[in-house]
């Protein structure tokens, strides 16, 4: 009762700072903030949509006065990790989507300064319009997601600048005491280096604001990768797990030596299938493909058991040299290796009628569909976000897929992301694969991993656990499967790199010195615990 009135007082004060349409206090308006792909049911108190950092400061200041829990979101499209839902019930959502300005762009030093509401699509369009010599690094998620929020969650992408937190710097943050902080060199008057050197002088603070709840980031600088004369795609298809093992060790050498400069994605056949088709019969008692159907579907859709893809960037000569070195390294590997440039692809497609007798000798693929898939891949490699992978969450759903603006949370698609890091070693990938397959089989789900070789030392393994969220029993099963996947990977030494709002309990241990440190800092900076309570704690 006391809390209720605190909220009322808070909102009445907020209404003196924000306009009426920036405050959503009706239950009806909250619904779209509570959609979720994971199995949570949250209640929120209100939604505030500030337009400026000063408004954010006022909100934070008032939240302290009235002991209100705030939960900041940028675009809130954190599907499979909790979407817009707060960790703690009755939080007030601070929706930063109206703060979506691109504040600065430097086409020589290759950076852009953005607010949290800026989406991947918006940044891409902006760079195109401004004849950028640099490209953004898209994630596999939708064009409608926030660039800054992804970097703060330490997400990764497909290109050379695939570590988005490493590309981020010069954060402007509304602190829990409502003061404004600028990190790096940003807090020095007239600093000319705040956008180009991230560490500043004195302790490097940016890290404590990533995967955290110590402030509300209101802008940041992203470094961008230079566009190159040439982008070619390398594709390698393998038919057995045994061969994959050897290829992993080869790829490790190619990655650590910088011959493959961008993320190398190793997609399991099932993963690719989820982006192409729906589960054959949603109403059957099976929620997992049988081995024979899996094999049949691979054939039908011309998908490999293992599909390895990466982009080669550089001048024509650099790319040609990289291809030569890759081919040499993979010599003798039982698999189908190919390189293709967009130009070559367009040429083949333009001449598809002429070439069809030859093409049909090799495979009976649907050339139109293949062309479309490859064109989309080239777009992504060129820095253009795509909805291509967004079909996956619909694998066990009967909702229509909106290609233009997919929203799996609104469509109640069931999805958990489980993302353990693995050492870049054959034996670890094999061990983790066997574990994931075993657990998913036990719970009756398809195991659909991608192994993203994001550096030369480790692999970001992403596992989408896709389930029918309209089915209660299956939903419960999925939650248990998610838990087991996280905990059993952890037991083997493969901890997840990022957590959904319902999974934090699996990685946070209050007796562990690391989490004790986090708690101490939280207490010092946010004594009333008003910013995202429960998040990574």
């Amino acid at each position: 009762m006391a809390k209720q009135s605190n909220l009322q007082l808070f909102l009445s004060k907020v209404s003196k700072v924000l306009k009426k349409n920036q405050i959503l206090s009706e239950k009806e308006d909250h619904r779209k903030y509570l959609y979720s792909c994971i199995d949570v049911k949250k209640v929120i108190s209100a939604v505030l949509k500030p337009k400026t950092k000063e408004e954010v400061q006022s909100i934070v200041s008032l939240a302290n006065t009235y002991s209100i829990s705030l939960y900041p979101i940028s675009r809130g499209n954190n599907w499979g990790y909790g979407t817009k839902n707060p960790v703690k019930n009755n939080s007030v959502i601070v929706d930063l989507s109206l703060m979506n300005s691109i504040l600065e762009f430097d086409n020589t030093l290759g950076y852009v300064r953005i607010e949290p509401g800026v989406t991947q699509q918006q940044l891409y369009d902006y760079l195109e319009k401004n004849n950028s010599e640099f490209q953004m690094d898209p994630t596999g998620s939708a064009p409608s997601t926030s660039v800054l929020a992804n970097a703060l969650e330490r997400g990764f992408g497909i290109g050379v600048y695939n570590n988005h937190f490493e590309s981020l710097s010069n954060l402007e943050i509304v602190m829990p005491d409502a003061t404004l902080l600028q990190t790096g060199f940003g807090h020095y008057e007239n600093s000319k280096t705040k956008e180009v050197y991230k560490y500043g002088v004195g302790p490097f603070m940016d890290g404590i604001f990533s995967q955290s709840n110590l402030g509300i980031v209101t802008s940041g600088t992203m470094h961008l990768a230079p566009k190159t004369q040439c982008v070619e795609m390398m594709a390698l298809r393998l038919d057995s797990n045994e061969v994959l093992g050897d290829v992993i060790d080869v790829m490790q050498k190619l990655r650590i030596k910088g011959i493959c400069k961008a993320t190398v994605n190793v997609l399991y056949g099932k993963r690719v299938l989820t982006t192409k088709i729906r589960f054959p019969n949603l109403k059957s008692s099976h929620s997992r493909l049988s081995d024979s159907i899996y094999k049949h579907l691979l054939d039908e859709h011309d998908v490999g058991h293992w599909n390895i893809v990466t982009a080669l960037y550089g001048t024509r000569e650099e790319v040609s040299l990289a291809k030569k070195m890759i081919s040499k390294s993979l010599k003798g590997v039982k698999g189908r290796l190919s390189f293709i440039s967009e130009r070559k692809l367009d040429f083949i497609y333009a001449n598809r009628k002429l070439l069809s007798p030859i093409l049909s000798l090799v495979s009976d693929i649907d050339i139109d569909s293949l062309y479309e898939t490859l064109k989309r891949t080239f777009s992504i490699m060129g820095g253009k976000p795509s909805t291509a992978s967004m079909r996956s969450p619909y694998f066990r759903s009967d909702k229509e897929f909106n290609e233009q603006d997919p929203n799996p949370a609104k469509d109640n698609c069931g999805l958990y992301w489980i993302s353990p890091i693995l050492p870049f070693r054959k034996e670890d990938v094999m061990k983790s694969f066997a574990l994931g397959e075993k657990i998913c089989k036990k719970y009756g789900f398809d195991f659909c991993p991608t192994y993203s070789m994001a550096s030369g030392r480790c692999i970001d393994n992403t596992i989408p656990l896709i389930y029918n969220k309209d089915d209660k029993e299956e939903t419960k099963r999925a939650a248990k499967c998610n838990e087991e996947l996280i905990l059993e990977h952890k037991k083997l030494g493969y901890v997840i790199y990022r957590s959904g709002i319902s999974s934090m309990k699996y990685i946070v241990d209050k007796d562990d010195s690391f989490w004790k440190l986090k708690k101490k800092i939280k207490k010092a900076l946010d004594p009333n615990s008003i910013i995202a309570p429960g998040r990574y704690e």
Copy 2:
């Protein structure tokens, strides 16, 4: 008086944990901890030399009980930034040099786990002995310096992995409350990824322990760069500042595109001279070379007005392609561009008699001395630390230079390092050069900058201010010159990236939100302020 007895009590308790020879409580033993290249005169209370992290924990625990200020050093060879001297008088030095184990090495994933006492030379020797396929990234400082401490101070080197803090991960830290912390994934039992993925899950904490005083780091993991088939040197010599301007913009493109993968060092003629000769007449009233003598010395020692050097790493084909692209980019530039491999150098040297008529047509250089210089450069590029640059601090000293184990602090050489970061742009370098030259001229010193193109976006400008520390007046002048260099650069927006113990006041502003945050965290973690009080605060 009370404090004195606290110290006595503290030391008596410490003597129950450390052996007698690990405790230096006599003034006589303190002298070598008080040598300095910058103008400070400190007093210390004692020196403790722990051998294990448990001993460090005991020391920290007792320091809390008796309110003792501890000042941890690794090898304490932070010449030009304060050497082994604490910021606060009467500190107890915690000398970590006996903690010098190399704990782990992985010759596939390319990392090494080390304690703070491990020196550059020691790591180099270890890697050689273990047939490492990876190389360390030496700094310009001596082989006797600590690898870990340099990384924690965010120092940089000459190779592809030039950002040493970025190569560092998985820190083990004795916290101010004497508990042990492990960052990244290190605090998870059986973690298999702690050495290969630095961010872990939850807030990334490593940064707050760099350039800081929030704990004592007792070990850390360094990622190493893969050795390559080929290492070639690119050298470009320019005779005018105007040409340099254009070259800077060309190099920016080459660096950001990754054609030049390693640090590109741009050395001013005077900087090179300090590594080759002494100031002509130390007893004269001049402490700065006249323009005509400078020019004469350049000729005499075959040094360019500007000397640009970088290493090209890769396979033979990669290096050959890089050379082609660099040559193309620099076409038309008025300067002398050359590439040389160690093999080619050895061949020329072996045939020097045969070639001497031709060589003498081009230049009247001393081929032996050139050979020696170049061989040393190749060593460094191959990951071998060298004393080559350590002659600089002796430029205005009459002490003998000990090539094997130079110690400019013990020799009372006068040296301040001033290290502003600059945007990677012609106009900023030119502006900063003019400023540095003006200030040094005003104070009667030689301005000897190096511009280290450590990334494609910024330049680490290092300025050694070398002075005769045996001359009181000159010493005073140098302190003023150091202050003005730091403050005037800051005014233009070029803040230093690292600070000496007497210069922290020029960068820390207690009313600035950044430094307030630092203070809050310090208070929360170290309420008694026992770890390195005054350091970056």
